[in-house]
Subunit: 305 residues, 2 copies
């Protein structure tokens, strides 16, 4: 349903997983917003600006607003929201702000998100004691077994309507899959592999190289790992964690990365390796996954593009 | 799954509804392709070029080919395919061609398709007795009753998480919906509203204003119409019709257009009106739907954008 703007807005608004945490962060934490100047980086039809205004905000600057947002402000008797159709990069604000609200998230936290825009807006406009919502992000990693699905995906290229496309297999192996997985295909608990604090991170902090160790919880093969994300509002009276887990199918999907060869493992085995992520831009992220066991030492390279 | 090119190719290749008619048109009609020079406007990984070569083509010019297509040609021992990564608009061919193959189709035949490219390539490169595959397109119209769904869609805007967005209703009414419908929501048989012959159509022919008359097949309300498409290969030994009907969910979805008010109708009633489509570009199509009964005379304007 991408034929027009209203329906995109409608789909986003109807996605409670995305909207409700923002609403809770505001309406249950009016003490944060009372008499504050607030910058909403992605206002759309203006839902969040109206809620901010009702929650006591002094002034709201609302970027990337929809053509119809002005009328919606009027019909809700809101008169302290300044709407801009452009993004913050193209607008000059008249003052600093106390709070920035931004859905900066994408897959793997940053892919197809708005993190660069948020960092630029923070450095230019956020007061020294200002806040960002949501302000924290985490990536978690778990080992998986989905050899059958992987084999199907590879076998497909052997004969595509009778045409030999085996050549594609070597490339498909290095494709990160933006897909969920069934709960029973996870064979370790999740471990934290990366954490980011939006209040102070730089563009450089979006790239990392961290080691991991997962404990395999059954006799199984390990075909690769799944990396999923969590983001949090930590300034609220009760912290709000939003988990985009491995086995639901949320808006921001987890990413499956396969080892070159599957690894036989027994219950209790510890699998060690490292994951490096190089943030080049929101549309280009390079990944390097390694795994080490007594028998196996594998390094795989992936690209989200 | 739009994170990379291979997977898009994979999804398209796996969509048998789209691929199989092209394969049938070629492999069951080798007499058309034997010793012919052929232009494939959208080669991708090269499936169709390989099939064309195997079917006796003398020479294939394959546009918009994927980086890996050359290797696939080699591994299939194909050496009479000339691959170009660019589109036909950016390439100068050395000779005219006997056949053009193009997936020129989009929603409502032309929306987000490649019709302008095909017409330009035809006028510049197709021999006088040349062929286009597929060569015909039709739009069919049926009346529908889906008042409940429409009401839900409108009611949503009354209160969006407590915010009054009623203003959006007047706009949402003029949104064409790219959606399928259940078979039991159709209350007339389909009627042909438009037909196009790719062998001779001009850009002007892509716009039209035609009247329709449907016979309502039960006591019901009519909330609007659904317009769906069919495209055909008519030069093949047996004509091949591909029906993108109202109630399956194929790649090219039908379009639902609502009347301003629903119309009560009885079995046997004849509903008359007209549908005009103004093709501005592949990304911008204006629609005008009218309906006339004794009590009702309504005109609605829509835009696919």
């Amino acid at each position: 349903m991408d034929c027009n703007n209203f329906l995109n807005d409608e789909d986003i608004l109807k996605d409670q997983n995305r909207i409700q945490p923002f609403l809770n962060a505001i309406t249950r934490n009016k003490h944060l917003f009372k008499d504050k100047v607030i910058l909403d980086l992605n206002a759309g039809l203006g839902l969040i600006p109206v809620i901010l205004s009702r929650s006591g905000a002094k002034q709201v600057f609302a970027m990337k607003s929809h053509d119809h947002a002005q009328k919606i402000m009027e019909q809700n008797n809101v008169n302290n929201v300044t709407l801009h159709k452009k993004s913050i990069k193209e607008v000059e604000l008249e003052c600093k702000v106390d709070i920035i609200i931004s859905a900066w998230m994408g897959n793997l936290l940053f892919y197809r998100g708005n993190i660069q825009e948020l960092i630029a807006a923070r450095d230019k406009y956020l007061n020294k004691d200002g806040l960002i919502l949501p302000d924290k992000g985490q990536l978690l990693l778990q080992s998986i077994e989905d050899g059958e699905y992987r084999e199907q995906k590879l076998t497909f290229w052997d004969s595509v309507y009778g045409v030999n496309m085996k050549w594609m297999k070597r490339w498909v192996k290095h494709e990160p899959l933006l897909e969920s997985i069934r709960q029973d295909q996870l064979n370790s608990d999740p471990v934290l592999i990366y954490e980011v604090d939006l209040m102070k991170c730089t563009l450089e902090d979006l790239s990392f190289s961290n080691s991991y160790q997962v404990q395999i919880n059954r006799q199984d093969f390990v075909t690769g790992v799944i990396v999923w994300m969590k983001y949090s509002f930590t300034f609220t009276h009760l912290p709000i964690d939003v988990i985009m887990g491995p086995s639901k199918s949320p808006f921001w999907k987890p990413v499956i990365l396969y080892f070159n060869e599957e690894i036989p493992a027994s219950k209790g085995d510890k699998l060690k390796g490292s994951l490096a992520m190089k943030f080049i831009s929101e549309d280009l992220i390079d990944l390097k996954l390694s795994v080490h066991t007594k028998q196996y030492h594998q390094i795989q390279y992936f690209r989200l593009n």
